[in-house]
Point group: C2
């Protein structure tokens, strides 16, 4: 028996999230089915991050145990042959038999992508949230600063959480802007804003609520200095809306001591 | 009667190209249908670039004539309400009554996008051609240089062309590389190569055959100094394969004197 760790990339558009649901296809469900067929054993993966319906990943992580003689690093190749185009393993490797991706301290990085322009761009629609409202990235950076560190993020957590504590550690929030006037395409004034958040784990919908609140700051509806009060309120009602799932991508997870 | 010019963006994944076909949905067909419904007249657009099935656009151009009192620049807003998510107008404006987007001298810019990594990435699959073979961009740049200028591009044209002449002018070919080792996602060594080609019009499949030939150079199958001989052969058989449609995007079109 050995424990295998998979790094899993997916386009979440056509799935009801990571975790197995009574109705609809999930990433976890498809991995279990394809792995069980490949290895001839009943396989149930343990996922590091149970991403929501519509959220994408470049590097989510799952582990499972197998008796298979297939070398750990070859499982990626064999499994990718049966996985659909929108789920692909990026790496497979052996890990310690007691390694558990949700119990091990880790640092996760998410990106929330926003496309601002007078009209939506079809080739961006699946991986960025569209808004026609211009956003001021400088205001967003100012507001984001007070979220860095260990805080009670109850204001940034969906009310139906089952988490024991709402204290989390945010290591960094970077806000990058690209675009401007694009010469080629009819002088469209467009900008793409990427909010990149790293931390030691996140509450349910936390990154999307941070993104939704920063967008309210960026459009001038919430002054940046209000962010501290929102954080201290420990009340979901104080923060902005939950930004749509399609803009969110789990970039990667680093496990401590690995 | 006035002539309106539309700048049209689309995700070509689900269409049989620009031009109306007996079977399957096309960009032109959908524009004609939505415009005719919106304006209450029978509208038939004239497209600048009849892109192939699966090819994308940020700024293709179409013109049509209408009696409608809707101001030219408002047509984009009204039309986008009835267009599907994967076709969106970026701009609408009035043009001279005799402006014809295929008879007017223009400069078109295309990008061909290639994603090279050990495994495909689901969120890139629709807009980049995937290969696991690493490509040497320096060799590709060296080979591309001899294509700049006015040449007979018969070697880079699908044999079933109806073009009167196969002489075309290529103004520039830039090859940009991004990526490398990505720290977040399991140390995947990945690179994205964008071949950006501008010129005064292109033969059928010309950019995709240039991209396919440059990929053969980049992987070491064709020495870069062979490119001149391929061009001079005036024979489709001398060049490399036609690269897949999904990697190609029509970035924009500039019309002379506009």
């Amino acid at each position: 028996m050995k424990r295998i760790m998979l790094t899993v990339a997916y386009d979440g558009t056509n799935y009801r999230g990571w975790q197995i649901q009574p109705n609809g296809e999930t990433i976890e469900g498809i991995l279990n089915r394809c792995l069980s067929e490949l290895l001839g054993e009943k396989i149930e993966v343990i996922g590091a991050s149970r991403t929501d319906s519509g959220v994408h990943a470049l590097g989510n992580v799952a582990v499972f145990d197998t008796e298979s003689p297939i070398p750990a690093e070859k499982i990626s190749y064999a499994l990718n042959r049966s996985l659909p185009e929108d789920i692909k393993i990026q790496k497979s490797e052996a890990v310690a038999a007691d390694f558990h991706p949700r119990r091990c301290a880790s640092r996760k990085t998410y990106e929330y992508r926003i496309y601002c322009a007078p009209f939506p761009l079809p080739t961006k629609r699946l991986y960025a949230h569209y808004t026609y409202v211009p956003l001021d990235a400088a205001l967003m950076r100012q507001a984001a600063a007070c979220l860095i560190g260990e805080h009670d993020f109850k204001s940034f957590c969906s009310v139906d959480t089952q988490a024991e504590t709402t204290v989390r550690r945010v290591d960094s929030i970077e806000i990058r802007v690209s675009g401007g006037v694009t010469e080629d395409s009819a002088d469209r004034i467009s900008q793409e804003i990427v909010i990149r958040v790293s931390g030691g784990g996140f509450l349910y919908n936390m990154v999307r609520i941070i993104a939704g609140t920063l967008m309210e700051v960026g459009r001038g509806h919430i002054p940046p200095e209000e962010m501290r009060r929102i954080l201290e309120a420990r009340d979901r009602q104080a923060a902005g809306p939950t930004a749509p799932a399609c803009g969110l991508t789990l970039v990667g997870i680093r496990f401590e001591g690995r």
